[in-house]
């Protein structure tokens, strides 16, 4: 990518900044078992990095997710759980 003079950016360009490296030590796991597609997780995500269309399709984008846990807390079906960042390596 090119850095312009004065850091000029155009609308919609902010996703070039992958900010997921700031994540806390936990991250959400979307179980995709009891999801009713209520969209609450996506609406409450402060990063706007949860996407889904239908039941059991919702997933976060780890390039931006900060691990705040709001999605797991708000989910009415307890279908999102927070897991330690290192879990996959174990």
């Amino acid at each position: 990518m090119k850095l312009t003079l004065g850091n000029v950016s155009r609308p919609g360009e902010s996703p070039v900044n992958e900010t997921g490296s700031w994540r806390t030590s936990n991250k959400p796991r979307f179980l995709q078992q009891n999801c009713i597609a209520c969209d609450m997780c996506a609406l409450h995500c402060p990063e706007g990095c949860i996407y889904g269309e239908e039941e059991n399709t919702y997933i976060n984008d780890e390039r931006y997710c900060k691990g705040c846990g709001i999605c797991a807390w708000i989910c009415p079906k307890d279908d999102i759980e927070m897991i330690p960042e290192v879990a996959e390596d174990d």
Binding site: L5, G6, N7, R10, T19
Partner: protein, 394 residues
């Protein structure tokens, strides 16, 4: 060209008018006030087609010209002292956003105590902001540097703001003969501003966007590299200026009787006139003395300064500023130039003329002879001896 006897403020405002800025915003502060009063009158009279934006303080003045420059028009502002310090936050932003703002700073001391007279502590306080800083010796040069400042700032290889520093009262309030160029010659020298990026509702963009740790350093590196690459452009614009207007422009510094000089005075701004008198006087007595008058403090022409000073035995730095707690900023930087290099002149630092104290020929003679005797660092010249200074150990 029209030679006229003008007050510095008037000459500067006329030169700014010739450069056709489209937005001028400023807040009055002594000794800059008359510059922008004149400009307000010129705009009111219809001689300059510009918006003159009255604001409630210097932070807003700087923000106004920042916004207008980002919208793609040529801008001007001026300030002094506390005004520059109040602008400081925006001053850094203007450079970081790569906006070619031109500002005249009528150099004045900083508070406290309140003092409205000249020294250069105000502009030194923002030396690290990313602006090009040029210091004028007289009103003719102040005018000439304003025109060159726009040409340097708006060059697409540069796109940085330029501060033209004029010693408060000594220049803006003095009457001198000044050659003001004709409009058509100015227009030929300085084409209309062509922004590289500009704010436009039809094509939205953000200037100075957020940069995380993975990009911020690169943006500062870009500023650093561009400022260094601006040195030859300052020289190029000075050559173009001389060719267009038939008057010398010195570029980053002026060498005065420097050829065989073993003692070289280094200074910036208006006191150079008095120093030249002393140099001439000492030359008549057979002393090999010269003056290097620095015009571009930022970017510092380090390599050229080394070459110009390497044959000197004593370098006498006279400066109207001090980095409190260390030495004078210019003396410190000159010492760094010679670190680890073959030439190793003595570099003596004197702090002179703070808060409008006169810089006399006697002061300059005294500093030169003191420097020739032994090492001097941050010595305050001509301190009163009849005052008891509480808290200072005698």
């Amino acid at each position: 060209m029209t030679r006229q006897m003008l007050q510095g403020c008037r000459a500067i405002s006329e030169m700014v008018t010739l450069c056709r800025p489209q937005v001028v915003s400023a807040y009055p502060i002594t000794p800059q006030t008359v510059i922008v009063e004149e400009l307000a009158q010129i705009v009111a009279d219809g001689r300059l087609k510009a918006e003159f934006v009255n604001v409630e303080g210097e932070h807003s003045a700087a923000s106004t010209v920042l916004g207008a420059s980002a919208a793609g028009v040529r801008v001007f502002t001026a300030t002094s002292s506390q005004g520059l310090l109040l602008m400081a936050e925006v001053v850094f932003n203007i450079a970081g956003m790569r906006l070619p703002v031109v500002m005249v700073n009528a150099n004045r001391s900083v508070s406290a105590p309140l003092n409205i007279w000249n020294d250069q502590q105000d502009s030194m306080a923002v030396r690290d902001s990313g602006w090009v800083q040029l210091y004028a010796e007289n009103n003719q040069e102040a005018c000439d540097l304003i025109l060159q400042a726009y040409k340097i700032a708006e060059d697409h290889r540069v796109m940085l703001p330029v501060m033209v520093c004029v010693d408060g009262f000594v220049l803006p309030h003095a009457y001198e003969m000044v050659d003001l160029p004709d409009q058509e010659d100015v227009d030929a020298f300085l084409p209309p501003f062509a922004p590289m990026y500009r704010l436009d509702p039809a094509n939205p963009l953000t200037l100075g966007a957020y940069a995380e740790p993975d990009k911020y350093m690169e943006t500062r590196y870009m500023l650093q590299e561009t400022l260094r690459a601006t040195l030859p452009i300052i020289e190029e614009v000075a050559r173009d200026f001389s060719k267009s207007f038939g008057r010398p422009a010195h570029g980053a510094f002026e060498a005065y009787r420097l050829g065989d000089a073993s003692t070289v005075v280094v200074a910036m701004g208006s006191m150079a006139g008095t120093i030249k008198e002393v140099v001439d006087e000492l030359r008549e007595k057979g002393q090999k003395v010269g003056l290097l008058r620095l015009i571009a403090f930022r970017p510092l022409p380090a390599a050229a300064l080394y070459d110009a000073l390497k044959n000197a035995r004593d370098i006498v730095v006279l400066e109207k500023a001090v980095s409190l707690g260390n030495s004078g900023p210019l003396a410190t930087e000159l010492r760094a130039l010679f670190q680890g290099r073959p030439a190793s002149p003595g570099i003596d630092g004197f702090v002179i003329g703070l808060g409008g104290r006169d810089v006399t020929m006697e002061d300059i003679r005294g500093a030169v002879s003191k420097a020739q005797e032994g090492a001097v660092d941050a010595e305050f010249v001509h301190l009163r001896e009849d005052l008891e200074l509480e808290g200072v150990n005698a």
